[in-house]
Symmetry: D2
Subunit: 491 residues, 4 copies
């Protein structure tokens, strides 16, 4: 059941607001056809060619290739194509279930592998459902007035468990085949019933989807093709409400092992924070749009215009470089699955919470004020007013007025409109808000090790203490100075 604007949506595929989000996912399949090296792999489970989004990474290069595919899809759609959460969730679960089984003697890892093999067989789209609605953020799950503020097990039966709760702003959930339900944060002993991971088909009984509205969403319903800005592609986020939804044991991958919730969340965010390299593809589009509108306005040769395009590029490539560096510095977990570098993944995502806003600001600078004051497409199509607009919105000779309008609407779309949701605000909060990254950076920054470097150079007599030795042999700098991880991979 999907609700949108107070109504049940009978046929999502035909809904003009939902359609662009489906097109974006469709492009992940189309790209797989056109560029199989980039967007597919041979499944080690089935031997068939499947989407790279379903692949468990077997090398650092596999991680890097995800980033390259993400950038290309960002370029091709100018929006969120909604498949990274599922990809990163499967990879994070792969190693977490392995280590859970080691500790508890459970068989989650085997179950998960069967599930993954099934997704490979059908080349499915998997959505990851992590973000609980959270209620009062200063309280733990079990402390909330209403226990349903975090998804939890409400009943255990012979064949499986029943869960209730809600997941907010779930990217692409309606366009998925299966949803992977996961906890959203570190849990304590009293939160045991909240320690549930399981897969459910998107049309399972008890699920209600409430579609999230986006800035300028109504424009997709107006019938034209200009004012939407990017008429073909858009993101999708909905609230998923789970009322007593059943999960059979074969699809349960955590049941009460609360002490592994933080491992799952941290591994997921490690993958997912560098997945935001996708935004560099959107950045490429926006840089192209800004360069185009400067050309249409006749100012592309001004030195300050060129310099702003350089600045946009510098920022965009910083996101790309920090993201792929996290992937290239990836290493094998015990399960054999590769995971990227935690520090650099957080550095990447932290830039993503700022740089797209600055790129967007610069795009608006180059666009000129018309980007927010332009009359509607209906005026442009009007027999009399349309003529006036044809005349007065003309830019440089040789450029169609309509093309200039289209380019301005695309910039509006990405900085204020439907795809600003994904390019800006989701860049801020997806995979954790800015402060979440700062906490992770703080945790990895190995001050004891660095303090000793300073003390030695300052000439302060010092013998290493235990904390420093531990920091030297493990953690971030162990990876920085490791030379081997890329040499042992499958290439």
């Amino acid at each position: 059941m999907i609700y949108l604007f107070g109504k049940l949506v009978e046929e999502p595929v035909d809904h003009p607001i939902i359609r662009p989000s489906i097109n974006a996912i469709a492009e992940t399949y189309d790209l797989a056809e056109r560029e199989p090296e980039l967007a597919t792999v041979i499944s080690p489970f089935t031997g068939a060619r499947i989407s790279r989004f379903l692949h468990i990474c077997e090398s650092a290069i596999d991680l890097v290739k995800q980033n390259k595919m993400q950038r290309k899809l960002g370029q091709n759609t100018g929006t969120c194509f909604q498949r990274c959460v599922g990809m990163d969730a499967l990879n994070a679960l792969y190693s977490t279930t392995y280590e859970m089984d080691e500790v508890y003697g459970t068989d989650y890892h085997q179950r998960l592998k069967k599930f993954i093999a099934m997704t490979h067989t059908y080349n499915y789209v998997i959505g990851g459902a992590m973000t609980d609605v959270k209620g009062d953020r200063s309280l733990a799950p079990h402390q909330q007035q209403d226990p349903d503020m975090f998804v939890h097990i409400v009943e255990r039966r012979e064949k499986g468990v029943y869960i209730s709760g809600a997941k907010a702003h779930q990217t692409g959930c309606i366009n998925s085949h299966w949803l992977m339900v996961m906890p959203t944060m570190r849990l304590g002993e009293k939160d045991k019933d909240y320690a549930i991971i399981g897969a459910i088909p998107v049309d399972a009984e008890g699920i209600t989807y409430i579609y999230g509205r986006q800035s300028c969403d109504r424009r997709s319903m107006e019938g034209g093709s200009i004012d939407a800005g990017n008429a073909n592609f858009g993101g999708q986020e909905a609230m998923v409400i789970l009322e007593h939804v059943f999960i059979p044991w074969e699809y349960v991958f955590m049941d009460g092992e609360y002490d592994f919730a933080s491992m799952l969340v941290e591994r997921f965010t490690t993958y997912h924070r560098r997945s935001y390299v996708c935004k560099t593809g959107l950045g490429d589009v926006l840089i192209g749009a800004a360069a185009s509108i400067a050309e249409y306005n006749g100012v592309e040769r001004a030195s300050h215009i060129k310099d702003k395009l350089v600045e946009m590029t510098h920022l965009n490539e910083t996101i790309y470089a920090t993201g792929i560096a996290a992937s290239y510095q990836g290493y094998a977990t015990k399960s054999g699955a590769y995971i990227c570098d935690n520090m650099l993944a957080n550095v990447c995502k932290h830039h993503v919470t700022k740089m797209p806003y600055e790129i967007g600001r610069l795009a608006q600078d180059l666009a000129g004020g018309l980007v927010v004051t332009m009359p509607s497409e209906q005026e442009f199509r009007h027999h009399k007013v349309g003529e006036l607009l044809q005349k007065y919105l003309k830019g440089k000779a040789g450029i169609e007025t309509e093309d200039r309008m289209r380019m301005l609407r695309l910039i509006e779309n990405m900085t204020l409109g439907r795809n600003a949701v994904g390019y800006l605000t989701e860049s801020m909060h997806g995979a954790g808000s800015p402060q979440a990254q700062r906490i992770l950076i703080a945790r990895s920054m190995q001050l004891a090790y660095k303090k000793r470097l300073a003390r030695i150079l300052a000439g302060i007599e010092t013998t290493k203490n235990k904390e420093e030795i531990v920091e030297e042999l493990s953690g971030y700098f162990a990876r920085v100075f490791s030379l081997g991880q890329n040499e042992n991979n499958h290439l």
Copy 2:
């Protein structure tokens, strides 16, 4: 004739998209009632109490009071109240016509005073129509393929002139009584017919208004009160098309004196760039909204939350301080009208092209992702889905779910929606795009004077050259080290 969504608007006052912009102007009258000291003056022309927006500044303190009124109106409306262009245009014209008359023996200044007296009599709203559509920005007005890319005189008759052309994104034009048409940039001798300043009633024959659409404008037509974010107030910008519009001589204040176009434009922007202090009022609202949503989410005590509110405040007050400094450093023109400091006005506006974007970004940080994924008001009003949302969108105990939704919609409104147009993009381009300020700063920065300071301290033997002496006795530093300007004013 006003067009919107391809239709002629019969009664603008009743149109749900136009209405909020009228409310914003109405608040300038309401404030005049409630706080007459702040928002009115006694007209030296009529002796009656009139809006401060119609006043010619007689002291630096008059300039400062404009800023204080602007901030208050920004706080009360959270949008652009559309009257500053007219205010700043009248002030700029006052001194420019005076100095034109001195050179050319014309009587524009007397005509203007009569016009101003008339506006005082009726306490009118005056709109300023400056920004031409410009066509190819690399060409001068007379070089354009289509001569109408800039407004110009197409016919001179005994009783007056006829003009044609178009003015883009005219703030509050439909809500004004009169429009003051002015050139938009420095003109050359061949642009003589483009050197026209004149006043026209908004409903003059030959005028067509094409309403500019704003991000999320359709929400104002949905009938609810939540999703619009700020249901009562909004800005207004329209394209004004002038087809053979008549202006009688008594309302003509420049006719061919092309060499005074740049003086008019520069004085106008000097006033108008520090008028962007209004945005600090919007900033106050957005800081309040961010603090509120942090409270509703239960995180207002986190140190990073408090620090972000401090940062927002620091930025907002920087705009305010640089703006009022420009006003306080104001000085008398030959006509007696006071004008603010050019350098500091440009410094103020240049910050306005960046800081609101950063304040907006921080507000989105504090809001959380829900600000862009929240279901529509119609879901909330739906008998069944509404209940689910009541339950699952609940924040801290004691806070109504609806209040939390409303606060998030206000933040969306100011960072992506209708009022983001005014708070962000118009902050970028209104009164000149960022590069325009950098050019003005470059022109005022008196490098010869500063180079000599350096040469003296570096011990390089130096005698003042002529350029340095001129720079020392005039320009920005003459004002910096002047002690008298505020002492001679009316206080």
Copy 3:
């Protein structure tokens, strides 16, 4: 007793490291001769013309004039001229003693007025001694292991008190006639003996000065005139150690009134934080130096060079504007002395902790790498090597090689050398480190008032609560919307 490089300095005036700091103070007297309007006032105590640095402000314009004098002196010396602490201390004491007397019936205010009159009679230099050495910063004065970590009364006698302790990095202390000893922070009841304010002659018994060394200080002892960068002018900071120093009652202005320590400190910092407008004078010099070296290198016409000079100016004028805005918004204390606006003074100083660093960075950008790799003046004076340098360090035709070297050394001086101490690090920490300003901004930002603005516009039904009403009628916004303060002043 003054110690420097492990030796007692017999004659400070002749010491090549101390001399430039004396020259800087001398310029405050010279400017008084050359520009009496800017740098002097008629003393209301004595009727004689005295330095503006000794004046108690009687109007907002008096506050502004301090800023203008500060900028000029910064331009003329390129360094810290060391008199603002005393000026701001006298002003802060003037109103604090007045209000202390009101509460406690003491006569500190009368004593202070006599003291001020005496300083006017002799046109003295007053140093302010505030910054205690502090020991463990997480402990209050009375909690420190060693009680002398903060200056305190060690003995009370019939004729006065004896104090001990030390004040760190005291600007210009050796160049002063009197030092005003003051507490450095909020004190509690147990810190009563630390609540001491009193004036002592700089050569009082028991005082030891330990000269602080500065970056590149040795260059002032090398005998040349190039490598020092700014051979004539430099700052001075020393540690002042007070061992059982006597203060007679007539020079005691607080003795145990610990609850007024925070008022004194806050008023002092309110004045002093906007006194950092002096750094805009240094900024003018550095902008001039950067423009000069670009000219000497033959690149002054490159667009990126011009743009960087604009950026430096934009930052520099932001400091100026926020500083004078704080002064212009000044208001009368109960004592009649004017004080500047607290919020804006903190905004000003907070920019000062960042912008000079960025201006310095840009100056180094324009300078080129030679600024840090240039051979010494002794090479340049060497008969053979000097010729090689003459040839190979030549820039544009018509520019002396020596002048190019001098300009580079000036830039080095202000970004890495002796005057970088004042331009950069002292800009960071003087009058309180960055976090101190953020705390003050947090305290003044009136969130209750702003939250209500947001709630009203969001359509959340609300009645004012008490906290909001208080915030509306007092605090920062009371001053923002006050129209009267400047009208009642002496102008």
Copy 4:
């Protein structure tokens, strides 16, 4: 012949200013002993274990390993260890000579290989001499008034060539065994005599070294161990004057092929700009010093202190990530030698021109004002004054006063003193000033390709033009979407 402070240096090894720079180079040999995996390779020319600094990269991983070695050496020395120029020069020459030979049938590549083999045999230190003194920067080499402003061939003889000119700020030149002389920029046909590349022993006849002075260099001559900040390690830059210096043909690797000068320069800067990863090692030291001083002051638990350490780390890791990303994306040149990605190398270096300044500013923030006002070591060693300082400069209990002083001096050293030269100003200008990177980014940013992405999404009908096709198949995006480069390497 080495000149310093106007005197000929007889024995550089014993000179207290030069010694720390020798120690820094020595650490490259010591590290080779301690961590051979990191700092050595087996020479493919000789089969012996040699310094990695002499290695021609045979894979992308080889490039990455250079970065890891650089960071470690930065951590161990806190300064510039002076060997990267030579390393990057050899690599750039390797592929450039190969391609020159292809075009001109010369045998430079074979000569170079012989030279490299010889350096491997002796495990030499190679310095690269590129930066000409340039004179008037707006003129080409052959246009300069004095032809010696750029190094050029002054005579051709049977056995070789004679060159004259000067190279400014040559890093580590005196500590090298051989210098590789190279052109510094793109050359035209008239600059043919300036197109000279050749190797010369550092003590060749006709060479004069004039030592560059650094901020606070005199402190290394004072005899103590505190005030220098980092007593053991320092950088070295000198001006190299070449008067009729002979190079035999076997050491000449370019002679007149002016059209290959830009290839050499661009390849060199591509390597060298990402070599600035070394500064992250210095950043680690400075972060450690800032964390230490916060601890010594007793404030390490304050949330703003922790947040500033996070910020410093975020910036430092951004440099690291962008640098190694450039290396990981490396690819084979025709010669087989690997080169890193040009765009990302420039992005890395461009951050290096800003972020160390901000890291340094934050370190000064945490240090407190004492970092620039602390008395000299001689005071501390003085029998009486030393006791006072012991008492009054005490921080937290358990921390030695001397240790606190040492840590402050280290921070001073890296932000204002000797090593600020390398950490800040050389970060700005080494391997090209900021604008040089912006020009390279502009050249690589492939706007035609990006514009088309925008036009497609905006719905503007478009067929690819030739420029777009070329851009798609080559340049930066060809590398972005290439999946193979790392798979074919030697791992």
